[in-house]
């Protein structure tokens, strides 16, 4: 089986990744994927001071891979899925760039939908990545969101970030 987790500076190709997951596996009847991208908040609010010019992503090498591998193990225990793949980029990114990808295969859609959301909720609050936004006011670290903890709690996991 190919790698389940990749932390990389390079971009990724979702279509290629999905092909690798599902081709040669005739048990698969469903593939669910999620891609997170760099948002320029100015495009949302129209406020010049909200502009995100660039984003830098830092991580904890070693722990990052280990923690996401553990999340994928947890997804396999909870859901009837065949394969899961997570790619997360680090380094310097620009608005509209892809940041993260989760893709899951299963026999029926329900399990891969749930596993995909579970993995993203888990990753948002437990994988050691930090975003720094470059704005007209200077560079600032992004604050963690309480709503992300609440999203993880839906799965019965109380592990406040």
């Amino acid at each position: 089986m190919s790698a389940r987790v990749s932390i990389q500076t390079e971009d990724f190709n979702l279509a290629q990744e999905i092909e690798r997951l599902r081709l040669n596996d005739a048990r698969v009847g469903a593939v669910c994927s999620f891609v997170g991208t760099v948002r320029d908040t100015r495009a949302l609010t129209g406020q010049a001071h909200d502009e995100v010019q660039a984003m830098a992503l830092e991580h904890y090498p070693g722990m990052t891979e280990k923690s996401i591998e553990a999340m994928i193990d947890a997804a396999h225990q909870r859901f009837d899925i065949y394969q899961a793949r997570v790619i997360h980029r680090v380094g310097e990114l620009a608005p509209t760039d892809q940041i993260v990808m989760v893709a899951v295969t299963s026999a029926h859609r329900g399990e891969s939908f749930k596993a995909c959301e579970f993995l993203m909720d888990y990753l948002k609050t437990q994988a050691p990545f930090w975003k720094k936004e470059h704005t007209p006011q200077g560079a600032q670290w992004v604050d963690a969101r309480v709503t992300d903890d609440q999203a993880l709690a839906r799965w019965g996991i109380q592990a406040a970030n």
């Binding site: 904890y60 722990m63 280990k66 923690s67 609050t125 437990q126 050691p128 990545f129 930090w130």
Partner: protein, 83 residues
């Protein structure tokens, strides 16, 4: 006393001007280590009890009560914001 490896990330790494270091500690738990580090000067106040600091022991999220072992790696960082 035992030697431990300290790792700092994101805003904490920037505040300390350092990403990793070896440290001789008298502490026996991760929480006691954090308190001990506060005594090293003003820059270390980024680890103060009222600051949102997360800790990892040997690259796994941990609790303040978790026990240190010789040569262990302890990471200090703010709440994570990936995804």
């Amino acid at each position: 006393m035992m030697q431990v490896h300290l790792r700092y990330f994101a805003s904490i790494r920037e505040a300390l001007g350092c990403g990793s270091e070896a440290w001789q500690t008298a502490a026996t738990t991760v929480g006691a280590l954090r308190t001990e580090l506060l005594g090293r000067g003003a820059a270390f106040q980024c680890l103060a009890a009222d600051k949102p600091v997360r800790m990892a022991l040997n690259q796994v999220m941990c609790q303040p009560s978790d026990a240190l072992t010789p040569g262990c790696e302890v990471g200090f960082f703010p709440p994570v914001t990936g995804g």
